[in-house]
Amino acid sequence: MRPTSGMLFFYRRIASPLHATRATVAAAWTGSLIAATLILYHPLVLFALLLAVLAAGMGAGVGRQLARSLRTAVIVAVPIVVVNVLVSREGLTVFARLGDLGPFGQGDLTLEAVVYGALIALKVTLLILITTLAGLAVDPDELLRVFRRLSFRSALTATLATRMLPVLAADAQRLGEAQQTRSTGAPSGARARVALLAAVIGGSLDRAMDVAATLEVRGFATAPRAPRLARPISRHDIAFAVSSASIVALAVVGLLTGAASFSAYPRVHMPTSVGTLALCVALMAVVLLPFCDRRGIDP
């Protein structure tokens, strides 16, 4: 029986420029997107980056998975906005008063807190999408080889972690399926859920032992440094490396020139100049341009 679905996303080599790029460059590219997300604060620029990441996902052939990840991100984002509105006391534009909340002071809800909460939620959404994209499009085995050249212990831990995730996901899926086939129906209620969770955890410990045993007999414990792969630099390696550098450079330029400046408190201040719009367009362009060249992308 081939796996047909699952809760977790895994790397699969498919025909896309990002998948055709060596793992170190692809990881650097997704890293540059994360850096830009952390550096930039202007909502318009971040929104442009969000569109660019979603389009990049489509260009990498993982748009559907990214859309599912976006739904998860929204579920995380909504509480962020709500909590920020409730705890922030910095805005001036009050739209609702909850009165005296004792030790928490006056419960004034402000427009600025909503905007800032939405901005943080947007950043979190972006981070979730970028890490999903990295998980789907960056070859973990190639990255682990690099780790093995640098630090054996890190590589061992990372290997076990990356291998256990799909094993446990498959276990959980199988256990869930088995419970559905019980004659009494799938167990329900808190106790049943705890029992099921305990079974998954208990099984995972056994699994971890088996995977560790396999690593033992394969000689991982005495492995020398992994040999350097003689792999020519491809057009996609160059394109994504240039794109990475450009993304970081644009983010820094935006920060230093004020084109991406933004402040939520005490009042929302979001200057939107031609420079801001140019930054949005430039960011989208440098993110997406490497996907235009689709030569030599077949696995």
């Binding site: 895994f10 199988r174 690593l215 000689g219």
Partner: protein, 540 residues
């Protein structure tokens, strides 16, 4: 005589906290280039013995170890699994936990890189082992997307990639279809003959590999019970351990013929010499083409009409399967790995919905999935199923035991009680159809016989039984009808006595020996056939 490749000297070993030793006073030697088969019932110590060779016992599992094991001149007490792994490649039972990377190419590369091979040697080694195992088409596939059989072959590739001097295999064919299983044994034999690789293979289905073996070591309760050539082992098994007999040997024993045959060819030669096999023994009429069976439109337990299962962005797993199952029918569902057997059963049970076509059920379809352990979520057997359900599968006495402490066969029966119900607690009464997905994986012959008897009993009571299996002997023991799937289609559907007698891969050993004559599938049926041909004393 050269130094032994493997030497056990009075080895006694107990797992931590165990009351009884898993290995007791075991001594033997295996010479370089030998092909050695490990035989024994479940729990006899075969896996532990292999773990002792790979160094996992005692270095990884702990416990009390006495005696000495030497592998390629290395004492396992002084050298751990990582060092021993340079000489001994190991393939364990569960392929899921033997793949440690994300892609097939990375898996094979890792096995070579950890042994210090350079980039060129790694690239060449990967290609060679992939070609040798016929997995070159999988090299750029993700490990997550592989079927169980494919994972098994990739794990074997990783074990063989470094060209170890000794290869240890623990039931490597348990997840493989008969074709892939035969190919694997053939490959091991080639490795053994061309590279002089020493092979130590633990297996329940001995008929698959006995002809390839130079020697058989049988274990009973952790003790060495027999050590000899295949024929000597079969003679010992006939006297001391009938459950380890191959079907061919059992056929000969029942027919009063001696010596027991090591393989089909030898059996046929002996029968021909006795005048019991004639050239006019044409194979039974093969049900090679799919047939439209006339079925009653009323009273079907299960009906599938034009069922398709198409993956989004992927292949079609089922392609227009039409199938009618009557109450009381017992059906063996066979086919190669990836043919669609498990998917078909999931559709029958309603776990999957067809992308086209429809499934009609007369009642509940109870589906027993491949791993019985997946059903156990409680601490006591009594919590898993009702007393009536436990009694129905003969586990009433074990109500207070922990499900995980049960033997393989008992676990399978408990899982059967959980899915079948057979009591008032079940949501929709007793099942109309009982479907089982590879229920005999890792089971010894005794446990298989018990399960087959249980399934026959249920069929006699009016339950329809569908079993997806790679084991023709089990299929013959429990099914009257057989269906062959290939590439998501039903390619043959007919009486088991025709379908399992007429083929080569999907045929029992008895049928292959007798050339499919009389539709005899099991040794008992074959012995009756032979008794009718010659005045030999048949021991039934």
């Amino acid at each position: 005589m050269s130094a032994p490749m493997l030497s056990f000297e009075r080895v006694t070993y107990s797992y931590p906290g165990a009351d009884a030793p898993a290995l007791s006073d075991v001594s033997f030697e295996i010479q370089p280039g030998e092909f050695c088969l490990l035989a024994g019932l479940s729990g006899s110590g075969k896996s532990t013995l292999l773990n002792a060779v790979s160094g996992l016992v005692p270095h990884f599992h702990g416990g009390r170890f006495a005696g000495g094991v030497t592998v390629a001149g290395l004492d396992t007490r002084e050298h751990g699994p990582a060092r021993l792994g340079a000489f001994a490649g190991a393939l364990f039972q569960d392929p899921e936990t033997q793949l440690v990377t994300s892609s097939v190419r990375a898996e094979l590369s890792l096995a070579l890189e950890t042994r210090g091979h350079g980039a060129t040697a790694v690239a060449r080694g990967v290609e060679e082992v992939a070609l040798a195992l016929g997995i070159d088409n999988l090299l750029d596939r993700s490990n997550h997307d592989l079927s169980g059989g494919e994972k098994q072959r990739v794990a074997l590739g990783a074990a063989l990639a470094g060209r170890p001097r000794i290869v240890l295999l623990d039931e490597p064919t348990s997840q493989l279809d008969p074709v892939a299983g035969d190919e694997l044994i053939g490959l091991l034999r080639r490795l053994n003959q061309e590279w002089e690789t020493t092979i130590v293979l633990a297996e329940h289905r001995l008929e698959r590999c006995l002809t390839a073996a130079d020697r058989v070591i049988a274990l009973e309760h952790g003790r060495l019970a027999c050590d000899g050539e295949p024929r000597a082992f079969l003679q010992w098994a006939a006297r001391r351990a009938p459950a380890l007999q191959t079907p061919g040997a059992k056929l000969f024993a029942l027919a009063g013929l001696d010596p027991p045959p090591v393989g089909v060819r030898q059996a046929r030669t002996t029968l021909r010499a006795h005048g019991l096999l004639t050239e006019e023994d044409a194979p039974a009429r093969a049900a090679a083409a799919a047939r439209t069976r006339r079925r009653r439109r009323r009273g079907l337990a299960l009906e599938m009409r034009g069922v398709w299962h198409e993956l989004r962005d992927g292949p079609a797993i089922l392609r227009g399967v039409t199938l009618s199952v009557e109450p009381g029918e017992s059906i063996a569902l066979m086919g190669r790995n990836g043919a669609g057997k498990s998917t078909l059963l999931r559709h029958a049970a309603g776990l999957l919905q067809p992308t086209r076509g429809r499934v009609q059920r007369a009642g509940r379809v109870a589906l027993l999935l491949q791993n019985p352990g997946d059903y156990f979520i409680h601490e006591r057997v009594a919590q898993e199923a009702s007393a009536e359900a436990l009694a129905a599968v003969g586990l009433a006495e074990m109500a207070e035991r922990n499900p995980r402490d049960l033997s393989g066969g008992e676990r399978q029966r408990l899982a059967l009680a959980i899915v079948a119900g057979d009591d008032d607690r079940s949501a929709a009464g007793p099942p109309a159809v009982l479907a089982l997905d590879e229920p005999t994986r890792g089971m010894d012959r005794e446990s298989k016989a018990e399960l087959a008897a249980e399934l026959c009993r249920r069929a006699d009571q009016g339950q329809a039984v569908i079993v997806a299996t790679h084991d023709p002997e089990f299929a013959a023991a429990c099914a009257r009808r057989a269906i062959l799937l290939a590439d998501g289609r039903v390619i043959a559907d007919g009486p088991a006595s025709e379908l399992l007698a007429g083929g080569w891969y999907f045929a029992t050993e008895t049928a292959r020996i007798l050339g499919g004559a009389g539709g005899a599938l099991l040794p008992e049926q074959g012995a009756e056939l032979l008794a009718a041909r010659a005045p030999l004393e048949v021991v039934l």
